[in-house]
Amino acid sequence: MTATVALLSPRKARARERTQRILRLVTAPVIVVLAVALLFWWLSTLQLDSIEQRTLNPTYIEARIKEHLLLTFVASLLVAVLAIPAGILAYRTRSRWVRSFFLALGNIGQATPAVGVVILLAIVWQTGFATALVALVAYSFLPVLRNTMVGLEQVGDDVKEAARGMGMTPNQVLRRIELPLASPTILAGLRTALVFAVGTATVATFINAGGLGDMIVNGLKLQRYPVLFTGAVLVAAIAVLIDWLAGVVEDLVRPKGL
């Protein structure tokens, strides 16, 4: 990137960057709209039997999408609230033990299959939305934790030293210097977590927490492939759209000058 900028005149470089940005902005939504339109056109050409009609109707699909999005967003919000402070704590602590503790926690959460977690929790604890949330949070915790730690670590020592030289307390350095400088990395972690959550939320179907997993499992078990396919395509479409949305937000909230 820097190499390209150096070779081009500043104005040309800026123009090129703008076109690239616009292109990036429209590609994902256009592809999603096309894919979904194609899907529904294909569905409209099919003769659906009574089993398929019970799932392939607007009311049912709308309800599943809402459940899916609610799960995804609440889980991501919880991850942000839990994993960013955990990352800051792990970064600032002198104790190596605390660091490894948080990292191990994140690793375990990511490595344990979410299906196993939901079923186990459903048996020993309860079924429903809260259980699905726990599994989702556990699964998407690691990217945010890691990115928070890495983001903070890569803030230059000279910058921190300068800040301290200006008389800032460690907390002020964190709030005014380190966190803003680390924010692009932290946001990238959140974006990853969001996309993870979209895919993983499909396991909620096993414990009465709804979502598009209902369609996938239903279609698979009854060999009603239009149902399976619609569920899968919608999950993929949501993942792409959310990734895109997160990218736009990332651009908007990134501190000026970074």
């Binding site: 089993i51 799932t55 179907t205 698979l220 999950v235 993929a236």
Partner: protein, 314 residues
């Protein structure tokens, strides 16, 4: 990157069948031809779906046919009915045990079951042979149909014995745990609710995975009535009481051995050999055998062998 990941995940589901059929096989230790040499030269793999009853039936079939001269192995590694069925139609499996209701609705694409068991069997056997070249041997009496079960203590307290009793309960007691699959089948929840006049808010019906339903029903916190399978060993083990289907709403899910028709025409004696076993497999017998695996933790292969020996079949 993530879009690729998701598309890959979707594709993975669709191609699992192809990949899984390459799964490993387990040999059988039964002495070949101990009973007869009628099936000499018959080789192949007997498959199963992914639950205990299916494992037991697959091992029984392998051992029994091997005792009559065949050289077969058992593969119990596939997950899901659809994959097992695919392995049969792809000719990776010689055969496996299937249920009439499942084939009629899931594979043959019908929506309404036939009430009479033998009429249902005939219809399935004819249609499947014609459409898919799958041969159905004479069925066993076992009927692994759907049922609703409740904690025995609660059944006494609520004084319910039949599904009509359940439908007459106050609405806040009419809570159900069902599978996602059951929720959309004509012979599942929509039909049942209509037949018995069950009219409860959607929040009374919880969608759970099969395994979770048994524990949830035992706990009774999510629901009073759980959708279970008639032959499941856990019904007895968890002290659940099955509600009688007094309006005979549920179709019959009679078990029968299904196999490649080409192999059957070459070895028609398979039917005679299997006819020694099938009539012994009643619903109660299957419940007992399944409980040995699901409750006592025995190996399906051992349970199968023990049963065959006890009946003098191997």
């Amino acid at each position: 990157m993530f879009t690729k990941r998701h598309i890959a995940a979707t594709a993975a589901i669709l191609v699992t069948t192809a990949l899984l059929t390459a799964g490993c096989s387990t040999g059988s230790a039964v002495e070949s031809g101990s009973k007869s040499d009628d099936l000499k030269g018959l080789t192949g793999v007997i498959g199963s779906k992914d639950f205990s009853e299916q494992y037991i039936l697959a091992y029984m079939t392998t051992d029994l046919l091997n005792a009559h001269g065949a050289n077969l192995t058992t593969n119990t590694k596939l997950v899901g009915s659809a994959n097992t069925r695919q392995a049969l139609t792809n000719k990776d499996f010689l055969g496996y045990w299937e249920y009439t209701g499942t084939a009629w609705i899931t594979y043959l694409g019908n929506t309404a079951p036939i009430t009479d068991p033998s009429a249902q069997f005939t219809a399935v056997a004819e249609a499947d042979l014609k459409a898919n070249d799958v041969k159905w041997l004479d069925p066993a009496p076992l009927n692994n149909t759907y049922a609703f079960a409740v904690r025995s203590s609660e059944a006494k307290k609520l004084n319910v014995k039949t599904l009509s009793d359940v439908a007459a309960l106050p609405k806040d007691q009419q809570t159900f745990c069902i599978e996602s699959e059951f929720s959309t089948r004509d012979d599942g929840w929509p039909g049942l609710a209509k037949a018995y006049g069950i009219d409860v808010p959607a929040s009374n019906v919880k969608l759970l995975d099969t395994g979770v339903i048994y524990t949830a029903t035992q706990k009774g916190s999510d629901c009073n009535f759980g959708e279970v399978f008639q032959t499941d060993g856990r019904i007895k083990a968890l002290d659940l009481t099955v509600m009688q289907d007094d309006k005979q709403f549920f179709p019959v899910y009679q078990g029968a051995f299904t196999m490649q028709n080409a192999v059957f025409t070459k070895y028609p004696k398979i039917a005679d050999v299997m006819a020694k076993l099938s009539p012994l497999l009643t619903t109660e017998q299957m419940q007992t055998l399944n409980a040995k695996v699901d409750v006592d933790g025995e190996e399906p292969a051992d349970v199968a062998k023990e049963f065959l020996k006890e009946k003098g079949l191997i």
